[in-house]
């Protein structure tokens, strides 16, 4: 019966899905002359709000607000989205620690967050009021802040925070009652582990460093991933080819941006079955994630157009769409 609690929301989402951008829309935008033409195209599709004008940032912010507003309207429990916002929360933690310890950063380094935005995060860290953070973040915040104060090593600090974020996500994937959240978190942890391994292999990190950085994951043995990454990029590509990720290995051979594209596409692949699921929270969360992916892709296109990238270069960086 629990699956039937969201039939109203799914009904609305089914209609909303029709207005999501498709791969063909993305192809058309890439082919447009410049940023202004892309903005006009988006406005024809109903993007932006009355007061966003032709400003790309305001148009994208308006779309983010619309996506979030719909979730609020549908009455989806905020706890569902708290889980999806873990990467942003932990990012704000890293940004806060670095701003305090190095004086750099500024407001643009933080994600907007009602509860743990820049000001609140800085206050918590300065006052060492870790209890004000969600439980899963407290130990990581204390540890990472300590590392940064003692060593001033931003990379070590990042490793501690990122690992805590992955552990928290992995914990959610094991304990959640929602299948979509489980699949999404599991897929995100696997993809992030692979990203860390790729960067580690490229910069010659040791096996111990990688073991510390990689979070346990059900898709593969992280010990083996760390070992292969420590062996260098070629060994890591072989590992990925033989562990259900041949497309990742292929993307790595192509270019770093093709690999980043594969990472995002992999997550979209995880949520795609929700397009035909008439029940449960799945289609609602999938729609929200699809909107985030869409906005991210449009941001890439707008930035690339503003900087005069070629169509081919933009195509390599854009993500697959949900519909």
């Amino acid at each position: 019966m629990g699956d039937l609690n969201y039939v109203y929301a799914v009904g609305r989402i089914r209609v909303k899905e029709k207005s999501l951008l498709s791969d063909s829309d993305i192809g058309q935008m890439i082919g447009l002359k410049d940023e202004a033409a892309v903005i006009s195209y988006l406005q024809d599709k109903g993007w932006g709000s009355q007061d966003s004008g032709k400003d790309p940032d305001r148009i994208l912010s308006a779309e983010e607000a619309k996506a979030w507003g719909l979730m609020v309207e549908l009455g989806i429990a905020p706890s569902v989205f708290e889980v999806l916002s873990y990467p942003h929360l932990y990012h704000n933690l890293k940004a806060g620690i670095k701003e305090i310890c190095t004086g750099g950063g500024g407001s643009r380094a933080f994600y907007k967050d009602e509860k743990y935005g820049r000001d609140e995060m800085l206050r918590i860290l300065k006052e060492k009021d870790y209890d004000a953070l969600p439980e899963h973040m407290r130990a990581a915040a204390k540890k990472a802040y300590g590392i940064m104060l003692e060593t001033k090593d931003g990379q070590l600090c990042d490793v501690a925070v990122d690992r805590a974020c992955l552990d928290a996500m992995e914990h959610v994937s094991r304990t959640t009652k929602h299948e979509i959240i489980r699949d999404y978190e599991e897929s995100t942890v696997a993809v992030t582990d692979i990203k860390i391994a790729v960067r580690g292999a490229a910069t010659g990190k040791s096996q111990n460093f990688l073991k510390e950085a990689l979070a346990p994951c059900r898709s593969f043995d992280v010990g083996a991933l760390a070992l292969s990454a420590a062996g260098g990029p070629e060994v890591l590509r072989d590992f990925l080819s033989t562990h259900e990720f041949p497309e990742a290995a292929e993307a790595l051979r192509t270019s770093p941006s093709a690999f980043e594209r594969w990472c995002d596409n992999r997550v979209i692949e995880t949520i795609r079955p929700q397009k035909t699921n008439p029940f449960s929270l799945g289609p609602v969360v999938a729609y929200y994630l699809a909107r985030e992916n869409e906005i991210k892709t449009v941001r890439i296109i707008l930035t690339a157009k503003a900087n005069g990238f070629t169509e081919e270069a933009i195509r390599e960086r854009t993500r697959e769409m949900y519909v």
Partner: protein, 159 residues
């Protein structure tokens, strides 16, 4: 009043109650899905309304069997069979069970199929005809149970 008449009456009540519960639940839940679609696309109102109503038929079938049963045991005509024996009463009771049980279960499954079909209409309104067929298939079994109940109730010999 005989135990036979009581059994027959319980059967008649079950036909309406269980089939009615299934239909009320089914129409309600399918209505939620339909409301979701109409919130975003009011033009689909007529199409989703039809899909919402499909699980409602079981309740009508149950009521029909109840009427026939009440009529046969004399309750509706004002001359109840107060001397009905136990075996005859039991026969009426079991004759009402097909629509009571199948009505309840088929309404549940038809509602879920209707919700899925409402999803089809939401995305592809032009595919309404095909979308309608899926929940209509479930109706077959409600109709079969209705026929069984009617045939059984109308052919039970009364002394």
């Amino acid at each position: 009043m005989s135990i036979g008449l009581v059994l027959a009456l319980v059967g008649a009540v079950c036909a309406t109650v269980f089939a009615g519960i299934g239909s009320a639940w089914g129409v309600g839940i399918a209505g939620q899905a339909a409301a979701g679609v109409v919130t975003e696309d009011p033009e689909q109102f007529a199409k989703v309304l039809l899909l919402q109503l499909l699980p409602g038929t079981q309740g009508i079938y149950g009521l029909l069997v109840t009427f026939i049963t009440l009529s046969r045991i004399g309750i509706l005509g004002g001359s109840p069979q107060t001397n009905m024996d136990f075996h005859t009463g039991l026969m009426f009771f079991f004759a009402c069970m097909p629509i009571a049980v199948v009505g309840l279960i088929s309404a549940y499954h038809q509602a879920k199929t209707s919700i899925a079909s409402i999803g089809i209409v939401a995305k592809r309104p032009d595919q309404f005809g095909k979308a309608m067929l899926f929940p209509a298939m479930v109706e077959t079994y409600a109709i079969l149970s209705l026929l069984t109940s009617i045939l059984a109730v109308t052919n039970i010999p009364l002394s």
